[in-house]
């Protein structure tokens, strides 16, 4: 068998050897391949163009915003006395919200991801419920939960606090609107960390808390940062729950709404730009940072 095969192989080699070096002459098959290549490039062009149109359509509102702004109008509305107070309120309440989310929801997300809780489906459904509730409904229900005539409201009154039209109320509303986005994102970030790696770190001599700090947290960090920044964007834009329990102090979304109601579309636009400028950098930074972390890990 093997002897019979070798001369054939040698002959095949000779045939290949006879072929002139350099690019192949187009055969019938080659011409067909070129045609299909052209066809393919047309379909490639169509698909790129189609994707571009969809992308532009998604960006439409931002483009509309930028094309309808005039610098003088921006300067005029932003230099009015007290015009930037809502910005300060929004950033402050947003930062407090992020702090609360990170401190309270990170352990919950970790427990959910590691399956440490009994009846995990029940817990997850609970988180999903708060995601699925419309913000306006959250606001209504918050009144019944922390309003002045409730046990919690009474407790707050004893501490000379109130959760109606206060900074505290604003933070509560923002936390409820953004928490599910953070919990679900953080859960999947933790779930992507191999339990075997945590086990290995333990066997190498690290206590569980140290393992969390040296292995779990760094590996989950890009995902955590992404979900934290999404939560930031939600908190910055929180409106439905806020308008019901925290009309005052006024953050940017309510400022846009009241300006719209009082003086019309044109004067509300600059504040929309402010909201975008404040809400976007953190998600963008988180995205760039997590992409970098991924590249670094790939070496």
């Amino acid at each position: 068998m093997s002897w019979a095969a070798s001369p054939a192989a040698a002959a095949g080699g000779a045939v290949r050897g006879d072929e002139p070096p350099g690019p192949r002459r187009p055969t019938g098959r080659g011409r067909f391949a070129e045609g299909s290549l052209r066809l393919r490039s047309v379909s490639a062009f169509v698909s790129v163009a189609g994707t571009g149109i969809i992308w532009l359509a998604l960006l439409g509102p931002v483009i509309a915003l930028l094309s309808h702004l005039s610098w003088s109008a921006i300067a005029k509305s932003l230099t009015a006395p007290g015009a930037l107070d809502p910005l300060v309120i929004s950033v402050e309440s947003g930062l407090v919200t992020l702090g609360v989310l990170f401190a309270v929801c990170t352990p919950l997300a970790w427990m959910l991801a590691r399956g440490k809780l009994p009846f995990p489906r029940v817990w997850e459904t609970g988180v999903l419920c708060s995601l699925l509730l419309p913000p306006l409904v959250i606001g209504l229900l918050l009144v019944f939960m922390v309003g002045p005539y409730t046990p919690i409201g009474g407790l707050l009154a004893d501490l000379h606090q109130s959760a109606t039209n206060t900074f505290l109320a604003l933070v509560i509303a923002e936390v409820y609107e953004s928490a599910p986005y953070y919990v679900l994102g953080a859960q999947s970030a933790f779930a992507s960390v191999e339990p075997r790696l945590e086990q290995q770190a333990g066997l190498l001599g690290d206590r569980p808390r140290r393992v969390f700090r040296r292995v779990t947290l760094p590996l989950a960090a890009p995902g955590l940062a992404m979900s934290l920044s999404i939560a930031w964007a939600r908190a910055m834009g929180a409106f439905g729950a806020v308008i019901i329990i925290a009309y005052n102090p006024m953050g940017i979304p309510l400022q846009i709404y009241t300006t719209l109601q009082e003086t019309g579309l044109a004067s509300a636009l600059p504040y929309a730009l402010v909201l975008l400028v404040v809400a976007l950098p953190l998600p963008l930074a988180a995205y760039i940072w997590s992409a970098r972390a991924g590249r670094r890990r790939r070496g």
Partner: protein, 330 residues
């Protein structure tokens, strides 16, 4: 010195194992998949609690279910575990992986001599994603060595690597274990790997230690028919009350009555195997497979072979200590 005596419940059976491993000794745990090998390692590492048991390592009691009850957590055991997945931390460079353990504080000279020993000195700055399978395993091994573990547990670490690399790594681990004089246990379902590594071979089946002995002794003198089956005996030829075990690699062609049992069989099938041939013989009612250097006669042909010094088993499946004299049979 590791002294373990544990019972762990599994779904189908209970793992009951008592064994000692001396410092610097290399024990290979050999057995089929699902025999409870990995479970034993996880119990020693403290990842799985035993139902009953006592584990002592170098005078420290790690686990004791009898009073005074003790269950030292994994991070205080100083037991190194190497699995098939090397488990390098992807966010740390090779250097940081090597120095991960809190107890690993090597000087630069120490680190570079270990890296040179393992052949990874040019990779210290690389990220784990860049490493090949063999390199990743060397780094994982280096990390265990720098952690100054009191014991090494190797859970089929080199499955999936090619044979020559497996051989090199196994030898490297073996010499390092001897040098550091820590006890080591290798779990494998490849007999050749187990023999290449071990001073002592333990055969485990369905949670029970069937035989512990020298790596050649277990194969040449299996304690029972079940052990013989596990270490590769493919034929059992009965003779009145007793059965002779035929290992394919312990068969030579021709009749040499002074070297073992002479059998005359009929060739049922034969096929090339490596540089030689493998033939299925039928000997009376029994069947046996043997490896031969030359091509045997075609199917239906008669073949006389000698099984070199075969083990004999009684009706209960236990090995007979006295080797009987048998007349050649067909």
């Amino acid at each position: 010195m590791l002294d373990a005596d544990v019972e762990v419940d599994r779904r189908a059976f209970t793992v009951r194992i008592a064994l000692q491993v001396a410092p610097g000794e290399r024990l290979a745990l050999f057995g089929p998949s699902g025999a409870g090998k990995t479970t034993l390692l996880e119990v020693i590492a403290g990842l799985v609690p035993p139902r009953r048991g006592h584990i002592e390592l170098g005078g420290r009691v790690l686990t004791s279910t009898a009073p005074p009850v003790r269950a030292v957590p994994p991070w205080q055991r100083r037991v190194g575990l190497l699995r098939q997945d090397p488990g390098l931390f992807p966010h740390l460079s090779v250097r940081d992986n090597l120095c991960y353990a809190p107890s690993a504080t090597p000087s630069d000279a120490e680190l570079s001599s270990l890296a040179a020993l393992l052949g990874i000195e040019s990779l210290l700055a690389a990220m784990p994603a860049r490493l090949s399978g063999g390199q990743a395993h060397r780094v994982a091994l280096g990390r265990l060595l720098l952690a100054h573990c009191d014991m090494l547990l190797l859970d089929e670490p080199y499955t999936g690597l090619d044979a020559s690399l497996r051989r090199t790594l196994t030898q490297q681990v073996g010499s390092l274990v001897t040098e550091r004089s820590v006890p080591a246990i290798l779990v494998t379902h490849e007999l050749v790997d187990a023999q290449a590594f071990a001073d002592r071979l333990a055969v485990l089946d369905r949670g029970e230690l069937l035989q512990v002995g020298a790596p050649d002794e277990v194969v040449l003198r299996p304690a029972s028919r079940r052990v013989a089956e596990l270490v590769g005996y493919l034929g059992f030829v009965p003779s009145s009350e007793i059965v002779a075990g035929v290992h394919p690699e312990r068969v030579i062609p021709g009749a040499f009555g002074d070297r073992g049992l002479v059998l005359t069989g009929v060739v049922k099938a034969c096929r090339p195997a490596g540089a030689g041939w493998e033939a299925d013989l039928s000997i009376g009612d029994a069947a046996a497979t043997c490896r031969l250097p030359d091509k045997p006669p075609a199917s239906g042909g008669e073949l006389v072979v000698t099984v070199l010094d075969p083990p004999y088993f009684g009706v209960d499946g236990r090995a007979l200590s006295a080797v009987p004299r048998l007349s050649p049979r067909r």
